[in-house]
C-alpha cells in the first residue's frame, strides 16, 4: 500500500516520527486487532472491471439493490452503454434505470459499442471525504469509502465533490448513501454482491495487500486505466480496455 498525500497531512508529525523509525502506515492504523479474525491492516480493497467481458445484463445492479436495499431511482452501481459514432463528437450514452433490467434492443448501428459498469472508485485521495465537514464519511483503514449514517448531516457537499456521480441522498434516512464495497461481506470472506453475481466475471473484487491476489498478475499483463485520471483521486477501480470516450 502506498501512503498518500492526505494521510501524510492527517497523521502529521506522528507519522514522520514513526516513519523514521521504520514503521508503516498499516502498523500505526492496525495496532489493535479488529474483532473476529478480520484485520483491517491486512487489506486494501479495490476492484477490476474488464470492459471486454461485460455483457450489460444488469445482474450487478440487481444484486446490489437486493443486497443493500438501494432506494428506487438511486444507484450504488449502474451500467452505461456507449455507442461511439465514427469521428464522434459526443458518444451516445444510455443507462435506463441504471440498467437494473439490462438494456433494450439497440438500434442497429455500425458504431463501436460497449458497456461500462460504474461504481464508487473507493479513491485513496477521495475528494468526497475531504469535504465532509464533520467526519461522517471517510476512507476506512482497509481502503473502503464509507458513510456513517448515524453521523451524517445530510449537507451533500460530498455528493457535489464526487467526480463520478456515485453518491446520493437516501430519501428515507436523509443521509448520504453510496457503495460500501459490500463491507459487511468482504470483511467476512465473501465477495461483493455485484462480483458474486456477475455471470462473466467482468467485475472482480481485489485486495491489493494480498500478495496472492490475481490482481497483481492482471495489472502486469493488461493495459488498464481509471476513470477521469485527471482528477487525481487515486481511484482503486481499474478498468481493462477503457475507451477514451468514457467519462
Amino acid at each position: 500500500m502506498e501512503m498518500n498525500r492526505r494521510d501524510l497531512f492527517r497523521i502529521g508529525g506522528k507519522l514522520l516520527v514513526l516513519a523514521s523509525a521504520g514503521a508503516t502506515l498499516e502498523q500505526i492504523m492496525g495496532s489493535e486487532p479488529a474483532p473476529e479474525a478480520y484485520k483491517m491492516a491486512d487489506h486494501w480493497w479495490g476492484m477490476i472491471v474488464d470492459i471486454d467481458k461485460c455483457i450489460g445484463c444488469g445482474s450487478c445492479v440487481r444484486a446490489c439493490s437486493n443486497e443493500n436495499q438501494v432506494p428506487n431511482g438511486y444507484f450504488r452501481t449502474w451500467v452505461e452503454r456507449y455507442e461511439v459514432p465514427e469521428g464522434y463528437v459526443n458518444p451516445i450514452v444510455t443507462s435506463p434505470e441504471g440498467a437494473i433490467n439490462g438494456f433494450p434492443l439497440p438500434k442497429p448501428t455500425n458504431f463501436k459499442a460497449f458497456f461500462v459498469p460504474k461504481l464508487c472508485n473507493h479513491c485513496a485521495d477521495s475528494p468526497c471525504t475531504q469535504v465532509c465537514p464533520v467526519g461522517a464519511t471517510f476512507v476506512s483503514p482497509d481502503g473502503v469509502v464509507l458513510v456513517d449514517k448515524e453521523y451524517c448531516l445530510g449537507c451533500r457537499y460530498c455528493v457535489q465533490a464526487c467526480p463520478y456521480g456515485c453518491r446520493y441522498l437516501h430519501p428515507e434516512t436523509e443521509t448520504v448513501d453510496k457503495c460500501t464495497l459490500c463491507y459487511h461481506r468482504i470483511t467476512k470472506g465473501l465477495t461483493t454482491a455485484c462480483c458474486e453475481n456477475c455471470p462473466t466475471q467482468a467485475r472482480q473484487l481485489v485486495d491489493f495487500k494480498n500478495p496472492k491476489d490475481p490482481v497483481h498478475e492482471f495489472l502486469r499483463t493488461h493495459k488498464v486505466s481509471v476513470l477521469k485520471p485527471q482528477m487525481a483521486t487515486e481511484a482503486k477501480v481499474y478498468y481493462n480496455n477503457l475507451d477514451g470516450a468514457v467519462r
Partner: protein
C-alpha cells in the same frame, strides 16, 4: 425511458439536484452582510465622512442579515439536529467545517461588539429614561455598566476602531470562504476556479452597498426626513468603483474559460446558451450588471438633478440586488444542471411549500427585514442623519 427534464445523459444519481434555492440564499445573504459591513467600515477606518449617516444603518443591516444567514443552511440539512457536530468534530480539510467558527467569530467578536460599543451611550441613556420591560431590555444591554463618561467613550471609540480593522478581513473571510466552498470543488468545472472567492467577495460588496443605499433612501422616505445627497452620491461612487472591479473579474473568468476552452467548455457553453440563458445572460449580465453599470457611469459623468439621481440610485440598487441574486442562482443551480460526464443536462424542479421550496425561501428572505425593523426600533440609527439634516 426518457426521464422528464433530462436531455442527453446524466449519471443516474445526478438527475436530482442536491443544493436547492436555500443554498442560493446562503451566499446571497452572507454577501449582503459582508458588503454592508464593509460600507460601514468606510466611515470608520477610511474616514469617509460623507457616508456617516449610513454607518449605524449599515451595521444593523449586517446584523439583521447575519442572524438569518445560517437558517437556510440549517433548513437544508437532512438532519438539522446534527449540525452541532460541526463544532464537535470539525474536519480540518473541509471548507464547510469552518462555517460555524467564522460565523460565531464574526457575529460576536466583530459585529455585536462593534454595535454595542457604538450604541453604549444611547443604551445607557435609554435604560434611564424608559420604563417597564423596555427598561429591563436596555438594562441587560448595558451589561451592568453605565459608565459613559467622556473618557469611557474615547476608549470605546478606540476599541471600536480596532474591531473594525479586524472586522474588514473577517468580512472578507466570511464571504471569500463561501466562494472557496464552491471554487475548491475540482469535480465541478463550473465552480472550480481560484477566482471564485474573489468574485464572490466583490459581488458581496456590491450587493451589500446597494442594499444599504436603498434601505437608507427608503428609511428616509418613511421617516419623512431629507436624504443626505452628499452621502448617497458618495455611496454611489464607491458602488460604481466596486462594481467595475466585480464586473472586470467576472468577465475575466468568462473570457478565460472561453479562451482556454477545456473539456468542459462545450457542455457549459451550451448550458449558458440554453438553460441558463434567461437567468445568466439576460438577468445577471444584462439587467443586473450592464444596465446598472451604465446608469452609475452616467451619474459619474454628468451632474443630474437630485431627484433624478435619487431615482437612478434606487433603480440601480434594485437591479443590482436582483442581478447578484441571479449570479448566486447561476453559480449554485447552474453548477448542478450539467452532467459531470459533459453529455447531458437536468433541470431544477423547485418545490413550492416543501421544506426546500419557494415559500420557505421567500420567508427567509423577508425575515431579515423583520429583524431589521425590530433592531431600528430598539437601537434607532437616525441620530446622525437628524443632526446632519439640522445643519
Amino acid at each position: 425511458m426518457m426521464i422528464p427534464g433530462v436531455d442527453g445523459f446524466m449519471y443516474p444519481n445526478e438527475v436530482e439536484l442536491q443544493w436547492s434555492i436555500l443554498i442560493v440564499l446562503y451566499p446571497y445573504i452572507t454577501g449582503l452582510v459582508a458588503g454592508a459591513f464593509i460600507l460601514a467600515s468606510l466611515e470608520r477606518v477610511f474616514k469617509v465622512e460623507a457616508v456617516r449617516p449610513t454607518y449605524r444603518l449599515a451595521l444593523l443591516t449586517a446584523l439583521a442579515f447575519l442572524l438569518v444567514a445560517p437558517l437556510p443552511l440549517q433548513l437544508h440539512l437532512g438532519h438539522p439536529e446534527r449540525s452541532f457536530e460541526m463544532y464537535l468534530t470539525p474536519h480540518t480539510s473541509s471548507a464547510m467545517a469552518m462555517f460555524g467558527f467564522v460565523y460565531l467569530w464574526y457575529l460576536t467578536v466583530v459585529l455585536l461588539l462593534e454595535i454595542w460599543l457604538d450604541y453604549r451611550a444611547d443604551i445607557v441613556h435609554m435604560s434611564k429614561t424608559t420604563t417597564g420591560v423596555t427598561r429591563l431590555v436596555y438594562k441587560v444591554l448595558t451589561l451592568g455598566s453605565d459608565n459613559v463618561s467622556e473618557a469611557a467613550r474615547r476608549v470605546d471609540d478606540k476599541v471600536g476602531y480596532v474591531i473594525t480593522v479586524i472586522g474588514i478581513p473577517s468580512a472578507f473571510m466570511l464571504h471569500g470562504y463561501v466562494g472557496f466552498i464552491f471554487g475548491s470543488v475540482k469535480a465541478n468545472p463550473w465552480w472550480s476556479t481560484p477566482l471564485m472567492p474573489v468574485v464572490f467577495l466583490f459581488s458581496a460588496m456590491v450587493s451589500g452597498i446597494a442594499a444599504v443605499l436603498v434601505l437608507y433612501m427608503a428609511a428616509m422616505k418613511v421617516k419623512r426626513l431629507p436624504i443626505d445627497m452628499r452621502c448617497v452620491d458618495t455611496i454611489a461612487k464607491y458602488l460604481f468603483y466596486t462594481f467595475v472591479i466585480d464586473f472586470t473579474l467576472e468577465m475575466l473568468d468568462l473570457i478565460h474559460r472561453t479562451y482556454e476552452a477545456d473539456e468542459s467548455f462545450r457542455s457549459l457553453d451550451f448550458m449558458v446558451h440554453t438553460r441558463l440563458w434567461a437567468s445568466h445572460v439576460l438577468l445577471q449580465i444584462g439587467a443586473g450588471t450592464v444596465v446598472p453599470l451604465l446608469l452609475l457611469a452616467a451619474t459619474q459623468l454628468r451632474r443630474f438633478a437630485p431627484g433624478a439621481r435619487k431615482a437612478i440610485y434606487s433603480i440601480t440598487s434594485c437591479l443590482i440586488l436582483v442581478g447578484i441574486f441571479a449570479m448566486r442562482w447561476n453559480v449554485v443551480i447552474g453548477g448542478q444542471l450539467f452532467s459531470k460526464s459533459f453529455l447531458g443536462y437536468t433541470s431544477y424542479k423547485m418545490g413550492l411549500v416543501t421544506r426546500e421550496g419557494l415559500l420557505p425561501a421567500v420567508a427567509l428572505m423577508l425575515l431579515p427585514f423583520a429583524i431589521f425593523f425590530v433592531l431600528i426600533k430598539l437601537l434607532p440609527p437616525w441620530q446622525h442623519s437628524e443632526a446632519n439634516a439640522a445643519d
